[in-house]
Symmetry: C2
Subunit: 212 residues, 2 copies
DNA sequence: GTCTATAAAAGGATAGAC
DNA sequence: GTCTATCCTTTTATAGAC
């Protein structure tokens, strides 16, 4: 009555799906939606192409699953910060560092978002899971801005979504445009010193903007 | 001895190439490199698929030509500003507005750069024309920062490339991530009021950063 | 649930005439 | 320089056995 797999684990659907998703995330983020090859994904998986269609229906279905999983991962990160105990400027700097480090650590996610924008966010629109994304970041920022203004620390009443955009833009661009920017200006944006300097820079910029 | 075309123009190679490039720019920026279809491009052109291969050799050759032409267009814009006559803060604000308006007015270019980043800037690296891009923006910014610091207007000695990145990031992201950002936060970034507010915002942020 | 083999279609590229 | 027709590889997707 021996099981089939060598690792002593019997056929595990969840495990198989996870495996496919992991490989697919890599493939889509490297080649884009149209550029990704189902065959390549299947080869790098410990299962076969047939299973991809069995579980995900189509190439697009797989892409959507990859996208949803990627967004689900960040959603969880954002909520566990507990910034309301910190004084406003410190809370904001912590939030910014978190966003910065997240993008730096997750180039695959950044690339998937870029790809989704190429496609006018069409898949994201179709996915309730993603569309109903926790926009708790905005509430967090709104709270910080309000407290900061009341305490006289920030002189400017800014829109929280605008501030979130300013932070995202900087953190995202560094990763998304790494290659073209690096090529033109001959600068390696993933270099350790550069990372440190940029992390401080975006925080200082946002804070000084709010204080001015 | 009648000419062939109805418009009284005889076969014009340059015109034909231009026509193909225009359509191809649209197609590549909308669907990405792999997603673009040579057949679709040919259909929308007043010439045939054969001519695309005749002039550009391959789909990749056409893509590279599109990319080069797009970069050539901005290069010319950046140089005709004559900012050295303006006082530093005004010069910087003018430069920022120009970048902002350029990205807003050229979503195709922004998308092509995003696509090129998906491909690790591989084509850009192969193209001398693009690699030797005029980096005069950096010299311009360096000059402004120096003058501003000497005049006591800016208190911070910042790296010109970093400042250029900060400006680019904001202006670029607004356009490149328009769809995903708009979907999640239910905000139209190409709305007139938003554009005005954002144009002022990035300028204020950079200036206050340098003054802090 | 999983595999091998294969169908079906799409899309990049070219032949050859004018 | 330009056109029509076509080749042929690549790639998505499925059939059918176990």
């Amino acid at each position: 009555m021996a099981e089939r797999s060598e690792n002593g684990r019997k056929n595990d659907p969840e495990q198989t799906k996870e495996d496919i998703l992991l490989v697919a995330t890599q493939e889509f983020s490297t080649h884009g939606l149209a550029g990704a090859r189902v065959d390549s994904i299947a080869e790098k998986t410990r299962t076969s192409k047939r299973m991809i269609y069995y579980y995900f229906g189509s190439k697009e279905g797989l892409y959507l699953a990859v996208l949803e999983q990627s967004y689900r991962k960040i959603r969880s990160l954002e909520s566990d910060l507990h910034l309301s105990n910190l004084e406003p400027e410190e809370a904001l700097r912590t939030l910014i560092s978190t966003t910065f480090d997240h993008d730096e650590a997750n180039p695959d996610f950044v690339r998937l978002v870029s790809i989704e924008n190429i496609h006018h966010a069409a898949h994201m629109l179709r996915s309730e899971a993603i569309r109903d994304l926790n926009v708790s970041v905005i509430e967090t920022i709104a709270g910080i801005l309000e407290r900061g203004f009341d305490h006289g620390i920030f002189r400017r009443k800014a829109d929280p979504i605008d501030i979130h955009m300013m932070i995202s833009a900087f953190c995202f661009f560094r990763v998304s445009n790494r290659y073209t920017f690096g090529t033109i200006f001959r600068r390696n944006l993933s270099d350790g010193d550069t990372i440190e300097r940029h992390r401080g820079m975006i925080a200082d910029a946002v804070v000084s903007y709010l204080k001015s």
